[in-house]
């Protein structure tokens, strides 16, 4: 909240494109973050529109995961503003908890509640945070587990499930809250190669349903086929953003060309 507090009005006006175009859902402007001396996010401006799938690409340590985590304030920021649906992120407390309940998050390491079965994982926050009845929450949980292809595993604990299955439960858990935005922080990076596709298929189906998503990934095939827009980051800077086809065939920055040469040819 220190540096570029100036002229927020200009920024709010800037993306106001012609009427009828997509509405902005997440707006980051002038976002900065440091870890000690390390400047991990440098003046990030990014707008994600409703229904849009934005894929964040970049080398390790580029800040893409950190950026993703700032959107629900799992990481705090040192400067700039983040708004969701026009409302600035609350600093803490119940307002922040309420906002988080509307933003689904899927982690690299799944983070299913280890002492709860798959079904209970999907039920818990519906009942405790959303205050739904147990019956309603169970019905919804079963429907969601069905949708991610895990109805038969509802009674199993996370440790009894494969990585791909755990990640699909995690997606169901997030969807149960009926989020208006989903954040995926390297959802397939901890998976065995053969289970990556089962998770990506679920995410793709979600994108097709019109869910707004920010996806941090190293899966170039997924980025190319599922993204509406690719955002490339390096060293904490948002280097370029473009349509996936343009990015993969004709990246405009040297840094992106470099990156693509490394990840696409091996």
């Amino acid at each position: 909240m220190t540096l570029p507090a100036a002229a927020p009005d200009d920024r709010a006006a800037a993306p106001a494109a012609p009427a009828g175009t997509p509405q902005p859902l997440v707006v980051l402007s002038g976002v900065n973050k440091h870890y000690g001396d390390l400047h991990v996010l440098r003046d990030i401006d990014l707008t994600v529109h409703k229904g849009e799938v934005v894929v964040l690409l970049g080398p390790s340590g580029s800040g893409k995961s950190t950026l993703c985590r700032t959107v629900n304030r799992l990481e705090t920021i040192d400067g700039g503003t983040i708004t969701i649906d026009g409302v600035p992120l609350p600093e803490e407390g119940r307002a922040l908890a309420r906002l988080r309940s509307e933003v689904g998050m899927v982690f690299q390491s799944f983070n299913l509640f280890a002492h709860k079965t798959a079904l209970e994982n999907v039920v818990l926050a519906q009942v405790k945070v959303r205050k739904r009845s147990k019956e309603e929450a169970h019905a919804k949980a079963r429907a969601l587990l069905e949708r991610v292809g895990l109805a038969a595993h509802a009674g199993k604990y996370p440790a009894q499930l494969s990585g791909g299955q755990q990640q699909r439960v995690a997606i169901a858990r997030a969807l149960a809250m009926e989020p208006k935005l989903m954040l995926f922080d390297e959802p397939t990076s901890a998976l065995d190669p053969e289970t990556v596709s089962e998770v990506l298929d679920v995410i793709r189906a979600l994108a097709a349903d019109g869910m707004t998503m920010i996806v941090v990934t190293h899966e170039m095939g997924f980025a190319r086929s599922a993204a509406d827009r690719v955002v490339f980051m390096a060293d904490g800077v948002l280097v370029e953003e473009s349509a996936p086809e343009d990015f993969f065939t004709a990246p405009s920055s040297e840094r992106a060309r470099d990156f693509l040469a490394k990840v696409l040819h091996h």
Binding site: S101, G104, M105, F110, N111, A159, Q160
Partner: protein
């Protein structure tokens, strides 16, 4: 053996008194200790400081001092209670510090991602503690808590010096009258303490088994 049998009502009453003392102290210490552990990991600095201060004082001073505070200093302020009541207070207050540290170790053993997932889905600190962290932390804390409870049971003998007629106190009284039976008495009372320790261990093993999840 005959001598122990002749005095079995005295001895059993004494152990009964000790079990009442330890039972209540276990209950209070587990509850207060868990709350202290939550305070020590809470995002509110004054709560963290209070928790840390409590543990630093109670864990780093002898139990006898703690008993003296409750049986001498506090009554001096005009409060009155039975010796057993003060002993329960003292033993609970002291043991809570150790319970706190066992539970805090349990909390630290829960992967960070669990709390992150709980926060990310919209839980408050209290909800994430109650619904996600503590259920896992307490499972991890069962073995050290068993140790703490065993130590507490043996520490309860200190109460004998403060007017509570528990097991070690009975030993002392009986020895005054029957100095020739010293070995019989020692062994008898020692076996009594061990039986209770075995029982505590068994209970904690059972908890450990039934609380295990896949």
């Amino acid at each position: 053996m005959g001598f122990l049998w002749d005095n079995h009502t005295v001895i059993l009453d004494a152990f009964g008194e000790g079990l009442i003392l330890s039972g209540w102290a276990a209950l209070f210490a587990l509850v207060v200790g868990t709350l202290l552990a939550v305070m020590r990991v809470s995002p509110v600095p004054p709560l963290r400081w209070a928790g840390t201060a409590y543990v630093s004082v109670l864990r780093n001073t002898p139990l006898v001092l703690c008993f003296m505070v409750f049986t001498s200093a506090i009554p001096h302020l005009g409060f009155t209670a039975e010796p057993l009541t003060w002993a329960i207070w003292a033993l609970s207050a002291y043991t809570a510090a150790f319970v706190c540290e066992a539970v805090r170790a349990g909390i630290k053993s829960v992967p960070r991602g669990q709390a992150e997932a709980a926060r990310a889905i919209g839980m408050t600190f209290g909800q994430s503690m109650r619904l996600v962290i503590l259920p896992q932390a307490l499972r991890a804390a069962v073995p050290p808590l068993g140790n703490t409870m065993i130590a507490m049971w043996k520490n309860s003998t200190v109460a004998a010096g403060f007017g509570v007629a528990e097991g070690a106190g009975a030993l002392h009284d009986l020895l005054n009258d029957h100095a020739d039976k010293i070995w019989t008495l020692f062994i008898g009372i020692a076996v009594g303490y061990m039986v209770v320790v075995f029982a505590i261990s068994a209970v904690f093993r059972l908890i450990e088994r039934t609380w295990r999840y896949a």
